[in-house]
């Protein structure tokens, strides 16, 4: 054990007495960073830990945020499996902020996102469980003076096969802690799994059906006040003047707080907050009433005439520029010049809000030289850092309590809510719960970028694809969110994600990226990140090429996948389960899309009917998934079901538009979201596999939009090139 762990050890050792604290190199694949080495952590940078105390309490610290993806359960299962404890015997503790200990090996940050949770924990959590189990066995064997091979474990006890003696893990904790940490503990073979691959009741569900689950928005503290906030209606506007007397006369209103525009930099992550006003009151209603009475006068600032046309024209102009080369194989121009048929397409994808069901919220208590925050964040360490900057305190004076999140979809990778709550609490000197109104949540989100894509392809006389050219134009999220992840020449790897590692074999290929930032409007990750955008564009164009080549969309894809057996397998499974060959009535159609993202293969078939007026009815969705080894199959299915519908919903209706520098949408009346009566049957078929696990949280979303627009093409012959689909309604009407 090293210094770091023993610090934790001390922290965790309380009145309960002897505690086995097992730190483990959760993410050893990651090369040790310089700071880590200087702290003596080079080889053993513990990242999460098991705690077993002498009272049989077994805790697992979970570094990921439970946003509904079931991570509390699946990560616990990995541990419990190898430790040989029941899921019911494990308690979960959300990890404290610690960028060193909990950096995700894929994201290089303490973060929940990019569908990495199970992917990055699969081996390491199991190793941790197995190592602890081995140490516990060694401790029991020593006590009984028998050979460890005579011992086995079950439900948190070590048993002596010879005598049937039994010792609980708790009673072994102290002596187990003295055992050397096995560096290569033996893991179970899949045949031995008792938990992994089963679907026990998720640990977070009982509280979620009886109302006791605690979300960030549910925190209540003694003396806590309630705040609501309105930011400058135009991006970059300034607060001119404020008459707060009508507000102050409302019963229950305590404070009217002004927050001035501010820039933050947290280890490269940049956040801009516009001027804002907040009302702090005895309850949310009084605060909202107070805000409504406030009518602040805003100087609408430099973007007051900004509209969508300006933004789209700028992207179109930028699309004429050559881009940074993301991938180049063969000679695209030459191949195109020899092609018998050439195709071109321009696609447009709108800004999108996240609209998680729980509006952004954060409780902050800044008093004296202490700051405590309660929220649901996907980036705990950054939350701590930004709170520290605002409170004017060192980070270790900031405690972050991470709670359940009522959806995230990337929204909680941002810290505007935390920053505002801390700023308000600091000004009023009391614990404050800030809850965004839905209007603030949608109008002052950070948005999935607007993308403009241009594609070209060439076919030979036999309909064989010769060349593929894809130019992506849009803003860079990484440049703001994690500039260290940018390629040195300014290529944003997220913007081209899914566009450079397609499973298809294209003979001549060029993928380019042109960065073009819209004025003022902040852009951010959204469920499916870069892939949702690229998968739609690519799968639409592949479909279009197949149509020009007069080939069945699935048959055409098969021709490009001979070297990719897993991709082929999901396509074939989806074709079979969707009864792809069965003829549909007129104005109905099926569309397919293939996604290879987050190490998962997914083929989705969507079946639609179009009304004469051009309205789309979703009839059926069939997904075939190969996500490698699966920890909790039912959760895997749920993620694909939900993710797919989430993507279909956005594709059908969602866009965020600007007019006069402000967002036009405000709530679920104009930011429409799919409802139960619009939901089709969704079937998810899992391909059995022992490969390393792939990500699932966002995968379904990625394939949804292209499968849908391809189905619409099959039903109507109309190619949707602009999302949301509702904008194409004229084109989708039945033509006389």
């Amino acid at each position: 054990m090293n210094a770091r762990v023993s610090r934790r050890h001390i922290l965790r050792t309380g009145a309960a007495g002897a505690t086995l604290v097992l730190g483990f190199g959760l993410y050893q694949m990651r090369p040790a960073s310089a700071e880590a080495s200087s702290a003596g952590l080079a080889l053993f940078a513990p990242n999460a830990f098991i705690r077993i105390d002498s009272e049989d309490r077994i805790s697992l610290v979970i570094d990921k945020c439970e946003v509904g993806q079931g991570v509390y359960t699946s990560l616990s299962m990995l541990l419990a499996e190898e430790l040989d404890v029941g899921l019911d015997q494990v308690a979960i503790e959300p990890a404290p902020p610690d960028e060193q200990l909990y950096a995700d090996p894929i994201l290089h940050l303490q973060a929940t996102g990019n569908s990495t949770s199970v992917r990055s924990s699969w081996m390491e959590l199991r190793r941790a469980g197995a190592a602890a189990r081995q140490m516990l066995i060694a401790a029991a064997a020593a006590e009984w003076r028998v050979d460890p091979s005579r011992c086995r474990t079950e439900r948190a006890s070590v048993l002596d096969n010879g005598t049937q003696r039994r010792l609980g893990y708790g009673s072994l904790a102290a002596t187990a802690a003295q055992q050397p940490v096995p560096q290569n503990p033996r893991l179970k073979q899949p045949e031995q799994f008792k938990l992994i691959g089963k679907s026990p009741l998720r640990v977070d569900l009982p509280g979620k059906v009886d109302g006791t689950a605690q979300y960030g928005i549910d925190v209540r503290l003694p003396g806590m006040l309630f705040a609501t906030v309105a930011s400058s209606p135009t991006f970059g506007g300034k607060l001119d003047s404020l008459d707060d007397s009508p507000t102050r006369s409302i019963k229950g209103v305590h404070h009217v707080v002004t927050i001035r525009a501010q820039e933050f930099d947290v280890g490269g992550y940049k956040l801009h907050l516009d001027d804002a006003v907040a009302v702090v009151a005895e309850n949310t209603w009084a605060a909202q009433q107070g805000l409504a009475a406030l009518e602040p006068a805003w100087d609408r600032g430099p973007n007051q005439h900004l509209g969508m046309d300006d933004i789209v024209h700028a992207l179109e102009a930028a699309s004429e520029r050559g881009g940074l080369v993301a991938r180049h194989e063969g000679d695209v121009d030459k191949a195109l010049s020899t092609a018998a048929t050439r195709l071109e397409a321009r696609n447009y994808m709108p800004f999108l809000a996240h609209a998680a069901m729980e509006p952004l919220s954060c409780v902050a208590d800044v008093r004296g030289d202490n700051c405590e925050i309660w929220t649901a964040t996907q980036v705990q360490a950054r939350a701590q850092e930004i709170a520290a900057q605002l409170a004017g305190l060192p980070p270790e004076k900031v405690t972050v309590h991470n709670l359940f999140s009522g959806g995230a979809f990337g929204r909680r990778l941002e810290l505007d809510g935390v920053a505002l709550a801390v700023a308000i609490s600091k000004q009023v000197g009391a614990p404050v719960k800030l809850v965004f109104t839905r209007e603030q949540d949608i109008r002052h989100d950070l948005y999935r970028p607007f993308y403009h894509d241009r594609l070209r392809a060439g076919l030979d006389a036999n309909g064989k694809l010769l060349a593929w050219h894809h130019r992506i134009v849009g803003s860079s999220i990484f440049a703001r969110w994690a500039p260290q992840a940018m390629r040195s020449d300014g290529l944003d790897p997220d913007a081209v994600d899914g566009a450079i590692q397609m499973p298809y074999a294209f003979p001549n290929l060029l993928v380019e990226y042109v960065r073009e930032e819209p004025p003022a409007i902040p852009t951010a990750f959204w469920r499916g990140v870069g892939d949702t955008h690229n998968a739609w564009v690519i799968e639409s164009f592949v479909d279009e090429i197949a149509a020009v080549a007069k080939q069945d969309p699935i048959q055409f894809r098969r021709g490009l996948l001979s070297h990719a057996p897993r991709a082929l397998a999901v396509i074939n499974l989806a074709a079979e389960k969707s009864r792809w060959d069965k003829i549909l009535p007129p104005r109905s159609g099926r569309g397919i899309a293939l996604a290879y993202v987050f190490d998962t293969y997914l083929a989705t078939v969507v079946e639609v009917t179009l009304s004469d007026a051009g309205l789309v009815t979703l009839q059926r969705v069939v997904c075939a998934v190969d996500c490698g080894s699966i920890v909790h199959p039912d959760t895997a299915i749920a993620q694909i079901e939900g993710g797919t519908l989430f993507g279909l919903s956005a594709a059908l209706w969602n866009e965020v538009t600007l007019r006069n520098g402000r967002v036009e949408q405000s709530n679920f009346n104009d930011y429409r979201t799919i409802r139960i009566d619009e939901t089709p049957e969704v079937e998810v078929h899992l391909v059995p596999s022992r490969e390393t696990p792939g990500g699932l949280g966002e995968t379904g979303t990625v394939a949804a939009a292209p499968a849908l627009t391809n189905a619409i093409f099959a039903a109507s012959g109309y190619r949707v090139r602009q999302l949301p689909i509702i904008k194409s309604i004229e084109g989708l009407k039945r033509r006389a």
Binding site: G70, L201, G211, G406, E641, I676, V682
Partner: protein
């Protein structure tokens, strides 16, 4: 001072008559199972029962519910429909983030107390006001049907 009957207990609150029941429950009384999602009766996250009917508490003023019987997610488990639905929700593993689910269960419970065995179209019609951003709708449908059949079985035996 308004007097409220919530989940069988009496509460007295000293807040304006026009405060929506949602904030009375969450901020004043501390029953946070009822959720805020939109504030304009579009999402259903705030659904509770007043006299057995599902209402959107975000647009239901306190003044209109005094002396009526209010039931929230915290109390619904004590009713046969509520219990059956909560069990079915667990069996089917419906929730993802779970934030919308109290509202979903309350809408479903009101549906079952009105129509013992609803048709598919009635389930859709009764549940269409409840948004789930995680899109657990497929499972919500299944769970309602399971609750209906489990109650039917319970009745027969």
């Amino acid at each position: 001072m308004a007097r409220l009957q919530i989940n069988g207990a009496t509460h007295e609150v000293d807040v304006p008559d026009d405060m929506p029941l949602l904030w009375v429950l969450r901020d004043v009384i501390g029953l946070t199972g009822t959720k805020f999602g939109c504030g304009i009766a579009q999402c259903g996250a705030c659904t509770a029962h007043v006299d057995g009917k599902a209402v959107r508490t975000c647009v239901t003023r306190l003044g209109t519910v005094a002396d009526r019987v209010v039931m929230t997610i915290e109390g619904i488990g004590a009713t046969p429909h509520g219990r059956a639905l909560q069990n079915a929700w667990l069996m089917i593993q419906v929730p993802q983030c779970g934030y919308c689910q109290p509202g979903q269960i309350m809408s479903a419970a009101a549906l079952l107390s009105e129509i013992e065995s609803p048709s598919d179209a009635q389930i859709d019609a009764a549940m269409a006001g409840n948004i789930c951003r995680c899109c657990t709708y497929v499972r919500i449908r299944k769970a309602i049907k399971l609750a209906v059949s489990s109650q039917a079985t319970a009745k027969r035996t």
